[in-house]
């Protein structure tokens, strides 16, 4: 009825090519942004920020990063946790070595550092594919964590090997450290998510994104039609690692504040982000958000439902969470193997016809 192209006349090519060609979609997007900037910061409290929104935003960045590599370029990576650790440790070293640097620069530099490391570990992807590449990135995961544990320079020789984020201000408001207000941390992450999602969306529908998808669909054919596999694969690794590095940096500086590398960036983090993009939808920016929301919100929602509302024993409900999350993952993979993003696009197709399906 109101969700359709008909009647929405485009007069320029730019209008034709926009991300949200349907007026309703576009307004929905603006409203989400408006709520995100104009409403949420005023009502947010510590619990919503630290338990739900900030982890959601940070994992959305990580999921976008991995989605660029795995979903768009078809290169499976199990090194996400290790690359996130690179971002976190770069932030830590920069924050402690240059106290005058502001957090935006630090976070972006952490992204670039991770992109460099990602490039180095991406080189084997030119020779090895599929499961073998997954194993190579697994090696990156274990090597990076081992290195951050082993070399005391990375954690400034602290006796425990923990790294902690000191307080840093932006425009007079703390965004890291214990005195940071919930809204400041939230807005800081929101800004990064907004810019990075915007860049990712436009990268993936531009020429670079088309090269990635060509490589993903059939690399030999792509090479024959003139896609340079070296360039395509390495740019995918670099851009993906950049995103993952920023997510790792924010996870440490804004969200956790103190981090132990093996625990916070271990192999289970790589799997978590991989599950996010599989459940959310491979090769979809929306899917990255949906998957991150699913994996972050579901355990919290289940805990609130089972323990706080229904008064169950914490141990039983913790075990039940595994059962329910596992069952839901299987359910989604069987019913909709293309993830939540596919459900979303089906819904949009149906909406176009609604309420006259014939």
């Amino acid at each position: 009825m109101f969700y359709r192209e008909a009647g929405d006349f485009k007069t320029t090519y730019a209008e034709d090519n926009q991300t949200f060609p349907i007026a309703f979609d576009r307004y929905r997007y603006y409203i989400v942004l408006l709520i995100g900037v104009g409403v949420v910061p005023f009502v947010i409290n510590d619990y919503w920020a630290s338990a739900i929104l900030i982890p959601f935003l940070i994992y959305a960045i990580a999921a976008m990063g991995l989605n660029i590599l795995t979903g768009y370029c078809g290169l499976v990576s199990l090194g996400t946790g290790g690359f996130m650790a690179v971002g976190a440790f770069t932030s830590y070293k920069l924050m402690t070595a240059f106290p005058w640097l502001d957090m935006i620069t630090i976070t972006i530099l952490s992204g670039f550092m991770t992109a460099l490391v990602g490039l180095a570990f991406g080189l084997p992807s030119l020779r090895i594919k599929g499961f073998y590449l997954a194993v190579a990135t697994l090696a990156a995961q274990f090597f990076l964590i081992w290195m951050f544990n082993k070399v005391p320079w990375f954690f400034n020789y602290s006796p425990s090997g923990q790294i902690g984020a000191p307080e840093r201000l932006i425009l007079g408001h703390a965004v890291t450290g214990p005195n940071a207000e919930a809204w400041a941390k939230y807005l800081f992450c929101f800004a990064f998510v907004f810019v990075l999602a915007w860049i990712a969306r436009n990268l993936t529908r531009g020429s670079i994104g088309r090269q990635w998808m060509a490589i993903r669909d059939m690399d030999i054919a792509a090479e024959i039609i003139g896609v340079n596999p070296l360039r395509a694969k390495l740019t995918a690794f670099a851009v993906s690692s950049f995103y993952v590095g920023i997510a790792g940096a924010l996870l440490f500086t804004v969200y956790l504040g103190a981090v132990e590398v093996g625990e916070a960036y271990g192999i289970q983090k790589s799997f978590l982000v991989l599950f996010m993009i599989i459940i959310g939808g491979l090769g979809s920016i929306f899917g990255s958000f949906a998957g991150a929301a699913f994996m972050v919100l579901l355990p919290v929602a289940l805990k609130v439902l089972l323990v706080d509302t229904m008064g169950w024993d914490t141990a039983i409900s913790a075990h039940f969470q595994f059962v329910i999350v596992g069952a839901l993952i299987m359910f989604f993979l069987i019913v909709e193997p293309h993830g939540l993003a596919r459900l979303w696009s089906l819904l949009k197709d149906k909406l176009r016809l609604w309420p006259f399906p014939h």
Binding site: P159, G161, G257, E260, A315
Partner: protein
């Protein structure tokens, strides 16, 4: 997603309290690789508060409310638990995890809620001049390392010169904590220190024990937790390492760690913060709490090492709350009053006897500068069927740990721009 959020919001609102109560959150872990240690500790912690509620109607007439939150020893879940419970009027947090402690030190300090990390967490928090809201009485890891070395000194007629001592540790903040002290002690007493790290959760130790078998150290000091303990003890038996030279810290000496090995583990030694044995308090918990079906767990853990320690932690928290009530002159205390209560805490043998747990812990008194107590611990030995207390409370060597505490806390103070906290009070 919207419905999920509604559920979350509804749940968060439904849990708001109306009556005056003293809230003690219990960040427990009853799942995951460390559950074997988390369950008895949490049972003891909660059962003691239930006992106070049932027998005395709470502390100073105000009922106690324990909010349990499952962390699975995971720091992100720990943060979620902290944020979910701090608004309920939480008085003190005891996360039973060094990793979560590091997360909570800055947060809790900023929120003005005290943190009690009994025998774990950041050792340099002993220095109350820097860590205003963190307490780690009665003992900490550096004390533990020093107590172990002092015990070995007494076993070896006062000299460890030329001995080979291996530290086998959980490769995390927890396990790495004693290294600095042991290095200083090695220099002082002339023994050779070797470090062997075991990655979390610690089921894979074949490589480390191969090294031990090859190098045959005189002593192994052991910093393990969870499944790692059982595996290490089994491996030590497999290579026929003399068990009396294998010494665990207080988190590596509970009943479930040695029970599976049984007789074969006889001789294994570990530290303990509490004296073992039958205490009147257990009978009270049995009749008032467990027999009434109010126990937090399945009531099989009563009297075990970690149950006793959980109960001891609850007792220290309750005594601090009582001290705070006396200081503030009101019964319904806040977290800030609780902090002052913890700082004015005095634990005497007479008081412990009064509470039905005579001599269970060392005597200590807390001051603004010293949040760490005396640091004394006892040595116990596994007889094959039960833990036997070997020694009285052994004192650590403060001349070694003291400067290290000052050095580490000064670094923290500089990094976080913290001025002296004790000058104005």
């Amino acid at each position: 997603m919207k419905t999920l959020m509604t559920i979350v919001a509804a749940g968060a609102m439904a849990a708001s309290p109306a009556l005056a109560d003293l809230v003690f959150p219990d960040l427990s872990y009853r799942t995951g690789p460390f559950a074997a240690g988390g369950i008895p500790f949490s049972d003891g912690y909660q059962d003691y508060f239930t006992l106070l509620n049932e027998r005395d109607g709470g502390i100073g007439g105000i009922p106690i409310r324990v909010i349990e939150c499952e962390t699975a020893y995971n720091t992100e879940r720990g943060v979620e638990c902290y944020e979910a419970t701090k608004g309920e009027g939480a008085l003190v947090y005891q996360p039973l995890s060094t990793g979560i402690t590091y997360q909570l030190i800055p947060r809790a300090t900023a929120d003005g809620i005290p943190l009690h990390t009994m025998g774990y967490g950041r050792t340099s928090a002993v220095n109350g001049d820097v860590f205003s809201h963190v307490f780690n009485y009665p003992a900490n890891y550096w004390d533990a390392a020093s107590v172990m070395v002092n015990f070995l000194l007494s076993e070896n007629d006062g000299s460890l010169d030329g001995k080979d001592i291996t530290l086998l540790y959980h490769n995390s903040a927890y396990g790495r904590e004693p290294i600095r002290t042991l290095e200083s002690l090695a220099e002082l007493h002339g023994f050779n220190l070797n470090l062997l790290a075991v990655d979390s959760p610690g089921q894979e130790q074949g490589n480390q024990w191969l090294t031990i078998r090859r190098e045959q150290p005189d002593y192994i000091l052991f910093w393990g937790w969870g499944v790692m303990n059982q595996v290490a003890i089994q491996e030590a038996i497999n290579i026929r390492f003399p068990m009396e030279n294998f010494i665990g810290n207080w988190w590596a000496g509970s009943d479930h760690d040695v029970a599976s090995a049984g007789e074969a583990a006889a001789g294994y030694r570990s530290l303990n913060m509490n004296r073992l044995g039958d205490m009147p308090i257990f009978d009270e918990i049995q009749t008032i709490v467990l027999d009434a079906g109010l126990g937090a767990g399945d009531s099989t853990n009563l009297g075990s090492v970690l149950y006793t320690r959980g109960m001891y932690a609850a007792m220290l928290a309750a005594e601090a709350a009582r001290t705070a009530q006396e200081l503030a002159g009101v019964a319904d205390i806040t977290a800030a009053m609780m902090r002052d209560g913890m700082e004015a805490m005095v634990m005497t043998n007479a008081r412990m006897e009064e509470l039905g747990m005579p001599g269970t812990g060392p005597e200590f008194a807390i001051t603004c500068e010293d949040h760490g107590g005396t640091g004394m611990a006892i040595m116990q030995e596994w007889s094959g069927t039960e833990w036997v207390t070997l020694t009285d409370f052994i004192a650590p060597d403060d001349s070694v740990t003291g400067p290290l505490v000052l050095e580490d806390s000064a670094q923290y103070a500089a990094e976080n721009a913290i001025g002296p906290q004790c000058a104005d009070s």
